[in-house]
Symmetry: C2
Subunit: 155 residues, 2 copies
């Protein structure tokens, strides 16, 4: 976690802003543990069965990669000083499987930021999140919505 | 898990089919454990700070509720005999917070099913997933895409 980061408020999420959120590496034990709890399909939990399955080997649950990405967004992009949570996300696409040993890099790009019509203390930010693997291939993308407080209502 | 269910293939996912997938109850310890790992924002991990936060108390990470919903979809809707994974989901909306003690009910409705143009052994199913709480309020919805094998290519 980056404990020394500057707080970000609504005004700081300028369209085009791109934030490098670092990377994480998937390992087989974590892939199996997550999927055993939340997505127990054989290609996520059983390395032997997965070899003969549709992906030719074990792959991470898309919800696992999404949750790992979220962790890095919370630590590097979303700001505790301003975050008011999220109403949802659009357009999650798991474009390539994430396999044990893959290192996945997270990037966040502000696409749109607009102030709330009804609540003058806040705005809604539209962010494109991208996950690329060690070969530079796009593994996942998502378009996320987040509510954030303004630094100052007159800003 | 329903070990006695009948396998479902592409042909069985007829638009309009509605499958009751059961329910789960969120508890505070699980909410905090999930969010500590994947979404460490104060309103998900710190009951004391959360009281003064935007939701007036601890709420589950949206990724936690989504992952819990997935578990029931895997056990009751998706079929291991036919499932080939998912290319993604659209339109996740967390409409109401999920709080400790809430019991959430999962329902899956087939919206569309079409055969693959390029791969005659499979099709793609569009499903609306809905989560309602003990008061009957809609807590979350998602539109999911899933690949599934046909029972028979000539079916």
């Amino acid at each position: 976690m980056n404990d020394h980061r500057e707080p970000r408020y609504f005004e700081d999420y300028v369209p085009g802003l791109t934030v490098d959120c670092g990377s994480f590496t998937m390992n087989e034990a974590d892939i199996i543990a997550f999927a055993t709890e939340y997505d127990p399909q054989s290609f996520h939990v059983d390395p032997v069965a997965a070899k003969d399955g549709p992906y030719g080997g074990l792959i991470a649950s898309g919800w696992h990669t999404t949750s790992m990405m979220m962790r890095l967004l919370v630590e590097n992009y979303i700001s505790p000083e301003s975050s008011l949570g999220s109403p949802g996300v659009d357009d999650i696409r798991w474009l390539r499987p994430a396999r044990p040993g893959d290192t996945l890099h997270v990037r966040a790009i502000v696409r749109e930021a607009r102030r709330s019509a009804s609540r003058p203390d806040r705005g809604i930010i539209t962010t494109v999140g991208e996950l690329t693997n060690q070969d530079g291939d796009l593994v996942m993308r998502v378009t996320a919505l987040n509510f954030a407080l303004l630094r100052g209502p007159s800003a």
